[in-house]
């Protein structure tokens, strides 16, 4: 018991040490817009994912989507579809693609690309209204996206 926990911890730590996040420009999409390879090389944490989706400062996914499992988050929007049961509709790779750049799954969608840093018109410095003062960071980090995918994976009917 003790041994296996330690082994697991060691494996995770090794994973952390070696896993290089895939840079936004290097993400490989399939023809249908899915992304097979984990962005961070590490498993996602569903509890973190839930926080990221509900937080205005992070994913703010609830601005457009409602999710029954996040019932404690007030004011969920309906610009996008409700996400209950989303894991029955999409594989992890497809969800990773939708998060990284939803336009490759849904042509012209209003859903922002969470792992994309170039090709924007008049990119700003976050929500200041001022010009960006350097290269953009993606809206979510590689690990945050994996966390969100892990949470979405729990949304089964």
């Amino acid at each position: 018991m003790r041994l296996s926990t330690l082994t697991l911890a060691a494996t995770l730590a090794a994973g952390a040490a070696f896993a290089n996040p895939v840079a936004p420009a290097d993400v490989v999409f399939t023809e249908d817009g899915a992304v097979e390879q984990s962005l961070s090389g590490m498993a996602g944490n569903p509890e973190e994912g839930a926080k990221i989706m509900g937080s205005k400062q992070l994913g703010n996914c609830v601005a457009c989507h409602s999710i029954s499992a996040l019932a404690d988050v007030p004011f969920q929007g309906n610009v996008g579809p409700m996400l209950d049961g989303v894991a029955d509709r999409w594989t992890a790779a497809e969800l990773r693609g939708i998060l990284s750049n939803a336009k490759l799954t849904y042509d012209g969608t209003v859903m922002p690309a969470y792992y994309k840093v170039d090709g924007f018109t008049r990119p700003g410095n976050a929500y200041t209204g001022k010009a960006a003062d350097g290269p953009l960071d993606p809206l979510l980090s590689a690990q945050q996206i994996e966390d969100v995918i892990a949470f979405l994976g729990t949304l089964k009917e």
């Binding site: 969920q76 309906n78 610009v79 922002p112 008049r122 700003g124």
Partner: protein, 284 residues
Amino acid sequence: MNFKPMTAIAALLLSVPTFAAADADDDVLIVNGETELVTKAPAPAHLDGALDEVMSGWHFRADETQALEMDDFDNPGMLAVEAAAEVWNTVDGSEGKSCASCHDGVEQSMKGVRAVYPKWNDAAQQVRTMEAQINDCRENRMGAKAWKYDGGDITDMVALISLQSRGMPVNVAIDGPVQATWEQGKELYYARTGQLDLSCANCHEQNYGNMIRADHLSQGQTNGFPAYRLKNAKLNSVHARFKGCVRDTRAETYKPGSPEFVALELYVASRGNGLSVAAPSVRN
């Protein structure tokens, strides 16, 4: 290749829970128990294929907020209008003139003006917003300093002038000498900006009636401007609103008074042709 059926499913899911709760309401806007305003109208011809009906932002607000606009005693924007009415008669600048020196009573001389702005100014060979016209009067006729484009003084004055057209249909010209500016405004309306990559149309044409977090999306019409916002407790100009919306796409905004926002204002105003001027409106 599996994305097509999925999109169809998503669309289905979208249409079921979405519209019932969030559509524009059917309330009627009667101000002071006497003036009924046109808050829904057939869309102007240039919106063919985009919208069938245009609606004032009033329909998308909560009943309590709507009520504040139905009686001038309750409308907090009217205090700013009263303040501007004094300024109208107050001499300022090197020429010893007030607005009234040239225009007499605001009720008569400014009736109908708001409804056709922004509009072409032949002498200047440009499209002028009301703010630009007011500042032109101040600098060139009064010898007074221009007001800050989206500051309180000018926004209050725009509200006073706009009130004189309340109930008249918005009717800005879109062709003739303004056409190139109008086209530029249209392009800006559909251009996606910022890291969220959203255009005005993404929110106000495609998604009006839907909720984006706590906000009930309207068509983003300008017929109610200047708008008193409960959030910042003052009158807000059209360009200040545009700036906030562009900022929310994580973009670098244009400046209030910039040629881009002037063009955008002309275009957005033309999308509301047929709606009553309803300034000063009340919003959350």
